[in-house]
Amino acid sequence: MSPLNPARVAREFPTRYRLEAARCDGCGAVSFPPRVVCPACRGRKFATVSLEPEGKVLTWTVIHVGPSSHKHEVPYALAVVELAGGVRITCQIADVDPARVEAGMPVRLEFRRIQEDGEAGVIAYGHKAVPA
């Protein structure tokens, strides 16, 4: 069981690389990542949309004791970010003194390395937020 099994990583590329989401044909709710059933209305038909890469910090923490996958990054800011359009994501806030992060802070998503499977394994990319 590795979160960085190549097949497992690859199937997330549309969402992690391009921020692809699904807008429900029935109620318009946007699911990110895309789902089979809309959690808002249980609709099953969707259109592919891309998330706006700008948003603001809703709530945040600074992780001082990290999991082994991120332990050399501590202390790092982790936040729930609300993107323009209302979709919320969990991500790190990079390129900032963690002490300066606060609720309401405007941020923009940037493409970053999220994890790697050691020095020889796959590198998993995705997005982190940076101060806008």
């Binding site: 590329f13 690389y17 391009r18 050399h72 990054e73 990079a94 390129d95 003194d97 940037e110 493409f111 970053r112 390395r113 999220i114 590198i123 990319y125 982190k128 101060p131």
Partner: protein, 349 residues
């Protein structure tokens, strides 16, 4: 058919290390480096940045300025000497992140510091041939010098991306040339962590011979003279070389300053003259001519003549300016943090 740049973008990491911080660790005299090489600080990629992440961000910025449908991009070239994978392309990640779709000719290029301009050369030629509508070329590096080596004072990180096409150009390509010889001035053998270089042999017989050779070819090919250019940019292994090459080629300091970033950026290797070009485009006006000459050890130079169009004013603000990235929002790191982020510390199993 005119071919040229439709959109351009640069990415410079926010972290910096001052030369004095490095010199203090190795007992070197910082002032000697600052004066001798005209270097003051350099960019440092964070642990979560690499050639791929910087290429993606620079390419997205180029796309924002180009205002084209990514599916019209038929070729993606990423030039770097620090591809995160030794085997497995960087370009596929960049293309997927941009959403080009699969009908793309994609390749990673390597030729020391001219891998970026190589991609530009190929992309332009491919558009000119009519084979593809748009082509993306990226030069990006997170280069490493061995701890304590002279290269450690300059090896920096950054990326520049250019989308080539034949319509809606911001800069028309008036000429492209390439000049190369087999010259072992700098290399890194397979499986080696850090490169080696041939000291002063990297100067006259290597850097200057090739940059000046390519410049001469461009001037001959176009019939232009240095005074016909608003700007010129040369590969920037340090602060001193590009100014000297420019002056030897007959350019004045005012023509060279806009693209001269290395004193505060360091050597971004494959990104060097391409990032310099983005800084020039940020301030160029319609009708300006730009001469660009890269250099890659081993050795060779690619040269281009660009003529800026009036579309430049429409697209400039669509992405962050290069000088702003260089001058603002800097986060300074200690040597210890730098060594940790750059993987220079031997870790436990």
């Amino acid at each position: 058919m005119s071919v040229g740049i439709v959109g351009y973008g640069a990415y410079i990491p926010r972290r910096r290390i001052r030369l004095g911080e490095i010199a203090a660790v190795w007992g070197a005299d910082a002032a000697t480096y600052e004066r001798g090489l005209e270097l003051h600080e350099k960019s440092v990629p964070a642990a979560d940045e690499d050639t791929i992440t910087m290429s993606v961000t620079a390419s997205r910025r180029a796309l924002a300025r180009a205002r084209i449908d990514p599916s019209s991009i038929g070729a993606v070239y990423v030039g770097s000497e620090s591809h995160p994978y030794a085997v497995k392309p960087s370009g596929t990640v960049v293309a997927e992140a941009l959403g080009t779709g699969p009908a793309v000719h994609c390749a990673d290029l390597e030729f020391a510091c001219k891998a970026g301009s190589e991609g530009m050369f190929l992309a332009a030629a491919l558009v000119k041939s009519g084979e593809v509508q748009h082509a993306l070329a990226v030069g990006a590096d997170t280069s490493q010098g061995a701890p304590g080596d002279a290269l450690e004072y300059s090896a920096a990180a950054g990326a520049a991306a250019f989308i080539f096409g034949s319509t809606n150009l911001v800069a028309t390509m008036e000429a492209q040339v390439s000049y190369m010889t087999d010259t072992p001035d700098f290399w890194r053998r397979e499986y080696m962590r850090y490169p080696r270089h041939a000291g002063r042999f990297t100067g006259e017989p290597a850097y200057f011979k090739h940059t000046l050779g390519a410049t001469r070819m461009l001037l001959e090919k176009t019939g232009l003279q240095p005074k016909d250019f608003a700007f010129a940019v040369f590969h920037q292994p340090n602060g001193k070389f590009p100014m000297r090459a420019g002056k030897l080629a007959g350019f004045r300091r005012e023509q060279l300053e806009a693209g001269w970033l290395s004193p505060w950026l360091g050597n971004t290797y494959s990104g060097a003259s391409p990032i310099g070009l983005t800084a020039i485009l940020d301030q160029a006006r319609a009708g300006d001519r730009i001469l660009m000459v890269s250099y890659g050890s081993g050795a060779g130079s690619d040269g281009f003549v660009w003529a800026v169009t009036d579309r430049i004013d429409e697209v400039r603000a669509a992405a962050p300016a290069t000088r702003d990235q260089l001058d603002n929002g800097k986060l300074y790191v200690s040597y210890g943090t730098y060594a940790k982020m750059r993987g220079k510390i031997r870790m436990g199993e």
